[in-house]
């Protein structure tokens, strides 16, 4: 029977011991080349062996523990999801979430790594698999057609005890089970399992000798036949457009259910929540600095940063501030949501991307602002990039995620109980005069963010080196103006009356426009301005961006002129 690219059978493609940590194994199944790697958390990834960028083999890439980095242009892909997390040519942007490497199903069992061309069949162990403590033989690659190799193995059986054929190119010879991995039409690997022998090396050598002789016989026979046509799998690169495009915002309402796996007191005033898929599948790819919307039982939506490190997609961990005077956001999470409850969250979104091409990265956290910066520190840490994390808190008891911080190798300084002026002096000291390719990331209370931005600016730091994320917009929004908006692409003009936002006005006119926090903090409703003067009231855009008058947040900002033309 000729091999088929869509054969759904599970075949062994490697031995477990072929995958030490920080190694990328090169494999092939049914013509498709595979890059196979074990992450530091033990998870095995079986991916198409091509970087989506230029088609360079990922098997020559670097296994950084939780991400795989392509050797040529440094594109990075996350453990589990194979989602692209970083494109060096666009260091300031979060890559589009659709850039995801092709992955194949994987199962590690009986000392072997198994995979299949598609998900059509569930993995089922071979008959009798569970009864024995299996020991894998040295794999034997053979340049011969898989069906010929299977027939050759069957001929190893003594006349009085014929081989027992098993489904999926496998057979049992006495107590030994052999599998033929169909590499390609004319190439195979023999993989065998035996019971754990007394003298391992001698037994392995014995089998290796037998299989070497079989290989030589099979290859001599194959050389006499015309070589079969190799299988022709197709491989698609991502378009240059998608690769250079920053991530698009996802409209509100696109949610997925997660279960609260763990809820704990991370520090005085900080509750940790671990959110996982209900069926134990991995969650979507995120980048350092990303947040999720959490839909609360009382109908509110709040943003929380993901604290996880690279490729850690088994669950998301967020930190929630326990506020006494909370207006019903965090309060609901803290007081009513319990372990085992199901919540709806959005896919991760990143308005706070981390550049990984800085010569120096300074992370400054105030209180609960530690959450996105912890994620950034973990990414930088795994890649051995230079960083320092400064964590300001009122009290020592208020320091959250202490064990996670202790696991970092970089410089982590905790600054406790400093008064406002002392914080300012400390920030000035750690920032120092701006130098080329330095970047600072700040997250914390509004007043602190403004102070750090001012301090950095006074030390010569340009706007594009100062990155910040507000949790909320504390400013009082002035919605007293009335003006017209012309929507260039939709060819309509709407009147925005006092007391109503541009966003609301557009929705009433039947347009679907993405938004999330609706208080000018999250960046989701960012819109290009073509004409008119904007009355910026958000905390998302930086000063330069605001002054450029080319973009705005339609959820809170308005017009100073009588008319605005938007690219919607």
């Amino acid at each position: 029977m000729p091999l088929s690219l869509s054969d759904p059978t599970w075949y062994p493609i490697a031995s477990s011991e072929d995958l030490p940590f920080r190694h990328v194994y090169q494999g092939q199944l049914l013509g498709r080349e595979l890059a196979v790697w074990r992450a530091d958390d033990g998870n095995v990834n079986v991916w198409e062996n091509r970087c989506l960028h230029r088609g360079v083999r990922l098997s020559i890439g670097i296994n950084e523990g939780q991400e795989l980095k392509c050797q040529y242009h440094g594109w990075r892909y996350a453990n589990q999801s194979a989602g692209c997390t970083y494109i060096p040519a666009h260091p300031a942007d979060a890559p589009a979430r659709r850039i995801e490497n092709r992955k194949y199903p994987v199962k590690e069992a009986f000392g072997l790594i198994w995979s299949a061309a598609n998900d059509d069949q569930k993995f089922a162990p071979f008959a009798g698999a569970e009864s024995t403590d299996w020991f894998p033989l040295r794999p034997m690659p053979v340049n011969a057609a898989p069906e010929d190799v299977l027939a050759g193995l069957a001929r190893l059986a003594p006349d009085d005890q014929p081989a027992d054929l098993l489904p999926g190119m496998a057979l049992r010879l006495g107590t030994t089970v052999y599998f033929v991995q169909p590499v390609d039409a004319g190439r195979s690997v023999i993989r065998g399992l035996i019971e754990k022998p007394a003298d391992e090396v001698a037994t392995l050598r014995h089998y290796n000798e037998t299989l070497t002789k079989l290989r030589d016989r099979l290859e001599r026979a194959a050389a006499k036949k015309p070589a079969p046509e190799p299988l022709q799998p197709v491989f698609e690169k991502v378009s240059a457009d998608l690769a250079s495009m920053p991530d698009i915002a996802i409209p509100r309402g696109n949610t997925m259910p997660v279960v609260v796996k763990r809820k704990w007191q991370s520090a005085d005033g900080v509750i940790g929540f671990e959110l996982a898929d209900r069926d134990g599948k991995h969650l979507p790819t995120f980048q350092p600095g990303a947040h999720i919307d959490v839909h609360l039982p009382n109908g509110l939506i709040r943003q929380y940063s993901i604290t996880n490190g690279p490729g850690d997609l088994s669950s998301y961990v967020i930190g929630v501030k326990q506020e006494s005077a909370s207006k019903g956001g965090s309060k609901v999470l803290v007081e009513t949501v319990r372990e085992g409850d199901v919540l709806a969250i959005s896919e991760p979104r990143n308005n706070f991307p981390l550049r990984r091409d800085a010569t120096r990265t300074v992370l400054i956290a105030g209180g609960i602002g530690i959450t996105p910066l912890l994620s950034m520190a973990r990414f930088l840490d795994k890649s051995s990039l230079n960083y320092e994390l400064h964590y300001f808190a009122r009290t020592g008891d208020g320091l959250a995620f202490q064990s996670e911080l202790a696991a970092l190798h970089g410089k982590v300084d905790r600054h406790i109980g400093l008064a406002r002026e002392a914080i300012k002096a400390k920030v000035a000291e750690v920032l120092g005069q701006y130098q080329f390719a330095n970047h600072v990331y700040i997250c914390g209370p509004g007043a602190m963010l403004e102070m750090v931005q001012e301090t950095a600016a006074s030390l010569g730091w340009p706007d594009d080196a100062i990155h910040f994320e507000y949790f909320q917009n504390d400013k009082v929004i002035d919605s007293s103006s009335a003006f017209d908006v012309e929507l260039a692409r939709s060819a309509m003009t709407l009147h925005v009356p006092a007391g109503k936002t541009i966003l609301e006005t557009m929705r009433e006119a039947g347009l679907t426009v993405p938004s999330s926090c609706e208080q000018g903090a999250c960046g989701t409703c960012l819109t290009t301005v073509m004409e008119g003067e904007v009355d910026h009231q958000d905390v998302y855009l930086n000063k330069t961006e605001k002054a450029s008058n080319t973009c705005m947040m339609t959820c809170v900002s308005r017009a100073k002129s009588g008319r605005l033309v938007l690219d919607i």
């Binding site: 920080r22 530091d40 040295r138 392995l204």
Partner: protein, 231 residues
């Protein structure tokens, strides 16, 4: 010749005594073996570039006077002129490696190392020949060279696989790398440029990770660094 350590045109700077000169072609794996060992041993040396391709300077009279065989690399140490990468690896290790590990004195181990130096020459005449034929227009028999390389890689993979089983990470029996590993490494790593895939040799591929993690390791064009090992 300029002293490579000399910063700018600072005349007050005194050049440390430089004795070693490598006649080098940057894209040659055999020259790279010596750069690799000298980097690992932290030995300062000067480079005289020889235009092997397309200039064929290794067949010029001035070069043939140093090495009548007309092959790179050549290394000069003071008045001594040496050729053949394996011989030079042994010389450098015996003379400059104070740890005594790279070319051990033990007679049995010396024999083991030399055995692999000889395999390294076979790798040059197969894997490197295929690369020269494909990339540099040399008239070698490509298919024969590729077949020859596969035959060696199969044996190396088997040797290294059983090595891993018995706790041996390197080509020779000591618990550390030797010049044997350096001699065999470059044209294993460059084999893809000769159309020779290493997919069928997982143990050989793991060994190349280990070599690339040796402290002092340095790259050449076509050979990439490995990531850090897990702590």
């Amino acid at each position: 010749m300029d002293c490579p350590d000399k910063p700018g045109n600072d005349d007050r700077y005194e050049c440390p005594l430089m004795t070693i000169t490598l006649y080098d072609f940057e894209l040659s794996g055999n020259c790279y073996k010596l750069r690799l060992l000298m980097n690992i041993l932290n030995l300062p040396y000067e480079i005289v570039p020889v235009d092997f391709f397309p200039g064929r300077q290794h067949k010029a009279d001035w070069f043939l006077r140093m090495n009548p065989f007309g092959q790179l690399p050549v290394l000069k140490d003071d008045d001594l002129t040496l050729s053949d990468s394996g011989a030079i690896l042994a010389y450098l290790a015996k003379k400059y490696d104070t740890s005594g590990k790279w070319f051990p004195d033990d007679p049995a181990v010396t024999a083991e190392v030399l055995r692999w130096h000889s395999v390294a020459d076979d790798i040059t005449s197969t894997s490197s020949a295929a690369r020269l034929a494909l990339g540099y227009g040399y008239a070698f028999d490509i298919e024969k060279s590729q077949k020859g390389a596969h035959r060696i890689f199969r044996l190396m993979d088997e040797h290294l696989w059983f090595g891993e089983k018995s706790g041996r990470d390197w080509l020779c029996s000591p618990a550390h790398p030797t010049t044997a590993d350096i001699a065999c490494f470059p044209y294993v790593m460059l084999s893809e440029e000769g159309g020779i895939s290493r997919q069928d040799y997982p143990a050989l591929r793991r060994w190349t990770d280990r070599v690339r993690r040796v402290p002092g390791f340095t790259v050449m064009s076509g050979i990439f660094p490995a990531g850090r090992a897990k702590e």
